[in-house]
């Protein structure tokens, strides 16, 4: 795509009402547009990032046998009353509205009850299990405050997966498989080194649940980390019993701020018993289905990446997440034709290129390349043209090399 075709423009200054770094940077670079607090539209640039994150998550979920579907935002009251979660006293983030005839309906903030209602229709026998389904859903949550940019939205995109198993044993296999898949996801998203499987409170059915927490100054959580042992504990379960269970002492743990980028949760048979979701086992007995749920906040992760992988010049997207791989800059009219040719060559090789074809001074183009955080800048200038060479500058290092055409293509290959 050509920069001249983008309707967004970069801005030197952050909006006065944004306090979160992720929102400041993403707004300045033209990735997001604030509709109201905690509610952001995503421009063509921003949507490309979201779709890249979704692609990574989708590939890893499909690889462990997840099946993608899409549930609904509108939710019937009765379904959630059956588990007591309709009440605003139990769930304080509901948005609710009414049909024309006055019927109460909710706007989905999660989908456990919705999935279980649907699965009643499809699950009969132990032969039907396990089932692992996931979706990318726009969730609505009526948050009291929303000052963390896209890290805590009132409207946000989430990948939520649900596993239905015959029993704890079948559940545990998928649960562990998902932990491994999540690790691959955060590695590919470029935040794997700072992301920890964190022990948190487990609810009624298990001692612990597992959160994926990324060390992040802008995070809302506090965790206690031992980097060498790869252990992290949420402050809510930091007690002697937990330390003993994990074989770690308090002194070995360092307190740090973190952002929850994923969670996996064991519901056991609680929902099935409440909602009457049973299967017939090998002996003809009716047994409640074992439920797990597994979330990744897609837009939140985008915010965390923006917070962590950025510097005073702007964003620094990892290659798999970046909206484009190359930011192509032409300097001077004489270089335009060569830049046009390189643009076509790279596109034909399947490389995503954002081509700054504007009549702007080089400094402005370089500043935009840095603010936007595109992994590689390629500069075509009259000076290097004479030698048929190109300047190649990775965003991460900022160190330029002058390369031949062949060397350049090798770097991107």
């Amino acid at each position: 795509m050509r920069v001249s075709q983008l309707f967004t423009k970069t801005s030197k200054n952050a909006p006065a009402d944004e306090v979160a770094k992720n929102a400041q940077l993403l707004t300045r670079a033209g990735y997001i547009y604030k509709v109201m607090a905690g509610v952001y539209a995503y421009t063509p640039l921003g949507l490309r990032v979201i779709e890249n994150i979704k692609r990574i998550v989708r590939e890893e979920m499909n690889a462990i046998g997840g099946q993608e579907l899409i549930m609904t935002s509108l939710q019937p009251k009765e379904v959630w009353e059956s588990t007591t979660r309709w009440s605003d006293d139990v769930v304080d983030v509901w948005f609710k509205t009414k049909l024309k005839d006055g019927t109460d309906i909710g706007l989905a903030w999660s989908h456990e009850e919705a999935i279980m209602t649907m699965m009643k229709q499809y699950v009969n026998s132990y032969k039907d299990l396990p089932i692992n389904v996931y979706q990318f859903q726009t969730k609505l949550r009526n948050e009291l405050r929303a000052k963390s940019g896209i890290m805590r939205g009132r409207e946000f995109v989430m990948k939520d997966m649900y596993s239905l198993s015959t029993d704890a044993e079948q559940h545990e296999i998928f649960y562990q498989t998902t932990i491994e898949a999540y690790k691959r996801i955060y590695d590919r998203l470029g935040i794997g080194n700072d992301t920890y499987v964190t022990f948190a409170s487990g609810g009624a059915f298990t001692k612990f649940s597992h959160e994926f927490q990324t060390i992040c100054d802008a995070g809302e959580d506090i965790i206690y980390v031992n980097r060498e042992k790869g252990i992290a504990v949420n402050e809510e379960v930091l007690n002697q019993e937990t330390l003993d269970t994990l074989g770690v002492t308090r002194d070995e743990l360092v307190e740090t701020k973190s952002a929850e980028v994923g969670n996996i949760f064991n519901f056991g048979t609680e929902k099935s018993e409440q909602m009457g979701v049973h299967y017939t086992d090998e002996n003809g007995a009716q047994v409640p289905v074992f439920l797990g749920s597994y979330g990744v906040g897609i837009t939140r992760v985008m915010g965390v990446i923006a917070e962590k992988l950025s510097d005073d010049k702007g964003l620094v997207w990892p290659k798999e997440v970046a909206p484009f791989t190359v930011y192509l800059v032409s300097i001077g009219e004489a270089a335009a034709q060569q830049a046009d040719e390189l643009y076509e060559t790279l596109k034909n090789k399947g490389i995503e290129v954002l081509y700054d074809d504007r009549d702007e001074r080089p400094g402005a183009k370089f500043a935009d390349a840095e603010l936007l955080g595109i992994p590689y800048r390629i500069t075509v200038s009259e000076r290097n043209m004479a030698n048929e060479k190109y300047e190649f500058t990775p965003r991460e290092t900022g160190v330029s090399e002058v390369l031949t055409h062949t060397e350049l293509l090798d770097k991107l290959g």
Copy 2:
């Protein structure tokens, strides 16, 4: 994918509460699940169809320079008050809710006001125009009745595009380009022959707007069609003046039921004037932006295809829309290995195959292949195995051929 891995199951009988053929067929085949009237979840099979329709629409929108983005469902009241469309007396399909602090918010049923508010930030000069942006958005509409299955939902997926132009002339170029793109879309969706650019009432700014109406018994509209001249008129503008304008007599038009599968609308400068969206022209004057909007009901189109391209045995998806291209059936244990091999061969060639690997009688497998509406059935049986041949049966004709391995791959090539 293997049929044994699908959690959905086909059903001989339609749900008692579904009156629309599209909902009956799609539910029986396991494409959709009804959450409440007008609100459907889409299973892995159904989501594949939606994604295929979106892919076709996306390709055609990108080809005419559309840029994809994603707006929000949550909408501030003030934005819509500025054009009088917040009022339930003006727009009777709003779902509304409140933030914790009591602030009214709406759930988007359309996005003209949202786009124009956002574009205020980006449009300054005539050089910034034209801008053509589109999204695939889940719209919520509080319909009084919802008995048409996925053809009229309270929650549904829509492609909506918005064009911002300097003036009527620039607008008209994009408007006509979009009409041609829409024709290509409906051709690729398999309903082009029965879809008409239909003259409808134009509102305040133009004599006519244009709807894309598909002849369909389950449709809610009445249009008057002349097939030879390729002319159609919505009953709301069927008068002598319209007939004179179009150069057609009443006798030449045949009344028929139809479903609106797309619309394109010229808002002129009305919204810009109400909302203060101006640009600076070449002479430095402030000029209101010219707005067009262009919709395609993605889930509605899926419903129309189900209504029209189906028979007493089930669905008959067009190839580009079908969730899978091939339904592979193995008959008898001895054929299983050959079927497994063919499954791998076809997958490696990038062909989407649904492989019925179940231990079921042939008649049940054939019936499911037909109900699901997969374009090509391939049957691997002991009888044909002896000659290293395969039975190939297009869903549309139902006429089987016995083919060699090479002939089979040629057919699918």
